[in-house]
């Protein structure tokens, strides 16, 4: 088991988070149903309200999707680190397909182990919640809060299967490893070009541009009828698909832009250049976080903007200035956190990408240390890389989320406006939260890999094969 899970710690953690998240959501809904029945005499809910279940599954699907992107990246990184080993077994006669299947199997195992851990943690959490809830009478007493539901199989199976699939997709590079790479030059060959073609770039541009136009059209139609939201949703999905497909082209360019702002000294340049060295990897690591951040921002901005539109209307009708309902803001916050869980998964992936990147550059760090890079400079190299990746992903997610949220609110509620379109409402706590997350990510993303990197002894690194 230990050898089978070698290098898959991030995959296990990500699978545990996704499965645990899904099971926790379903368990909470069950507890809520029991509590409601107990609180309102005669209410025989038995089944959870459909809308709650749908929302839970949407959140789960987003979390699993982000987890799959992260795992694809983790496995691709593992393959890059094992090229010589794979080449050696190829040299000794193993087929590429067999090696790839082996990696996929490792992914399956990691997914299963992670799911078990996640479910166990989730059940413990739910049980603790029930205990605390009963003790504080938050949950009506005298009930048996049996939160286990058969549906919990769904997140477990879904997580295991998607982890397997993601490992399969991520291990594609195995097919390109030639036996000769086991011998010869110790210099790892760098994939200089993104795994993309002109066709891919064109598709991304068409979907992105077309989707953005549709989104704008939706917002415009929304000024006349709430049905504009359907055009808006179509535009949102299309343009986001375009962004995902185009990520290997767009993200590296943005990374370069943000990187330039971080400094021109040797240490900074080493860090900035590295993120651009594997455009696919950097793009995937960033895009996973973009999804989480943009969804949170979209929900919050859409909700708050819609809220502003409705209050404006009430003021106009009744002439009173109604204060912003704090309960509504809180509900938006909770919703944001639930949606944002995928951002936690993406963050795990980001830190893992950075850490493994450091491990795989042991010789390179040994070389630059020998040539005169001080420990302080090495620390700077690594933090520049982390800051660059975290800041780029969060800025993109934030900008995209504001655009989507505002367009969504205008598409759905535009026709209720009294004085024409309102500007997007961006609450200060959202900005504070985003800045906090960015700072935390950049910090963790530099400290964890830096601890490894500073342990590198130049002499040993240069001798290492």
């Amino acid at each position: 088991m230990r050898t089978l899970l070698r290098g898959h710690a991030a995959t296990v953690l990500v699978a545990a988070l996704a499965a645990g998240f899904g099971v926790t959501l379903l368990g909470l809904i069950r507890i809520l149903v029991i509590a409601t029945e107990a609180a309102i005499a005669g209410a025989a809910l038995d089944q959870a309200p459909l809308v709650l279940v749908i929302v839970a599954y949407v959140f789960l699907a987003i979390a699993i999707y982000v987890a799959a992107i992260v795992t694809t990246n983790t496995v691709a990184t593992i393959v890059a680190g094992r090229v010589r080993e794979i080449a050696l077994v190829r040299l000794l006669g193993a087929s590429a397909a067999r090696e790839r299947a082996r990696l996929a199997k490792e992914g399956l195992t990691a997914g299963a182990v992670g799911a078990v851990i996640g479910v166990a943690a989730s059940w413990a959490l739910l049980a603790a919640f029930v205990l605390v809830g009963e003790a504080t009478t938050l949950l009506p007493p005298g009930q048996t809060y049996a939160f286990l539901v058969p549906d919990m199989v769904v997140p477990i199976v879904a997580v295991v299967l998607t982890t397997w699939l993601a490992a399969w997709v991520g291990s594609r590079r195995v097919l390109g490893v030639t036996p000769i790479e086991a011998l010869g030059a110790a210099v790892p060959s760098d994939a200089a070009h993104p795994a993309g073609s002109r066709a891919r770039a064109t598709l991304a541009a068409v979907l992105g541009g077309g989707g953005a136009l549709l989104l704008a059209l939706g917002a415009l139609l929304g000024q006349a009828s709430p049905l504009g939201v359907f055009v808006g949703i179509a535009g949102g999905i299309t343009s986001f698909t375009g962004l995902m497909i185009g990520a290997p082209f767009v993200i590296p360019a943005l990374l370069a832009l943000v990187g330039r702002a971080l400094g021109r000294d040797a240490a900074a340049v080493l860090g900035v250049r590295n993120a651009l060295r594997h455009p696919d990897r950097s793009a995937r690591a960033a895009i996973a976080l973009v999804i989480g951040v943009s969804l949170v921002t979209m929900f919050v901005v859409a909700g708050m903007t819609a809220n502003a539109i409705m209050y404006q209307r009430m003021e106009d009708h009744w002439g009173t200035t109604a204060p912003l309902d704090p309960a509504f803001a809180m509900a938006m916050g909770v919703l944001g956190i639930l949606v944002g869980f995928s951002a936690v998964i993406a963050a795990v992936g980001l830190v893992n990408t950075l850490t493994v990147g450091v491990l795989q550059r042991t010789r390179e760090f040994g070389l630059v240390r020998a040539l005169g890079l001080s420990r302080g400079q090495l620390r700077r190299t690594i933090s520049v890389e982390a800051v660059q990746l975290a800041v780029t992903a969060i800025l993109v997610g934030f900008a995209v989320g504001i655009a989507y949220g505002w367009a969504g609110a205008e598409a759905m509620f535009g026709s209720f406006q009294v004085f024409g379109p309102v500007p997007p409402v961006i609450p200060w706590w959202l900005v504070a939260g985003i800045v906090g997350v960015a700072a935390l990510l950049a910090l963790v993303g530099s400290l964890v890999p830096a601890r490894r990197a500073l342990r590198i002894v130049p002499v040993e690194a240069l001798a290492a094969e």
Partner: protein, 257 residues
Amino acid sequence: MQTKPSDLGLVARVTELTKTYGTGGAAVTALDGISLGIRRGEFTAIMGPSGSGKSTLMHIMAGLDAPTAGRVWIGDEEITALNDRELTVVRRRRVGFVFQAFNLVPTLDVEANVTFPFELDGRRPNTTERAWIDSLIDSLGLRNRLRHRPSELSGGQQQRVAIARALGSRPALVFADEPTGNLDSRTSREVLALLAAAAADYGQGIVMVTHDPFAASHADRVILMNDGRVAADEGRLTASAASELVLSLASDEAAAR
């Protein structure tokens, strides 16, 4: 008054250098009380079988590793007592490196690799330094490769870039660790001629660690190491003489048995 290494025409010097790995019964002595000086403008080859201590000696002389006992100077500066930060600066400013492989920073182009030691110091080469680097780039035939990445260069070209970088900051000393280990014979000859010319024409002190008697035959001085000690210290040798010198160790051992 103490004699400074430079008074003796030395660019590097070690005295009573000892290095042991591990402790107690498992202790291995890599260097066993070596004293040695490297002269300005001298191309020195250090030969010896694997485990003879030649790499350890080079690492300690270059400030990459610390000795167990003994003293080390680069120029007139004793580096034995320096901390990691100070050693880093010494390597950056006073030592050049050419390794066997993985010599260049993969993410930087040729020009950025050559000026990397300056960049680490947070400065651009001044006019004199720039002219020197330009002349190196021209004489090494790298002029039309300046924008290339290391992965786009042949092994010989990569080695020439490493030499340009090692000489660019005019360090007191250049260390070359098996610089021809990965090269074909024609490219090896070129690289060795370049190192020899750097010593003869620019007065550069060069220490080259090598297994290869042919490589050693380009040096002004050949030091043979065995069991952490200097077994022989010769002047210029032909390849066959260098080869015999190494083989003499084997026959000595056979005789000792």
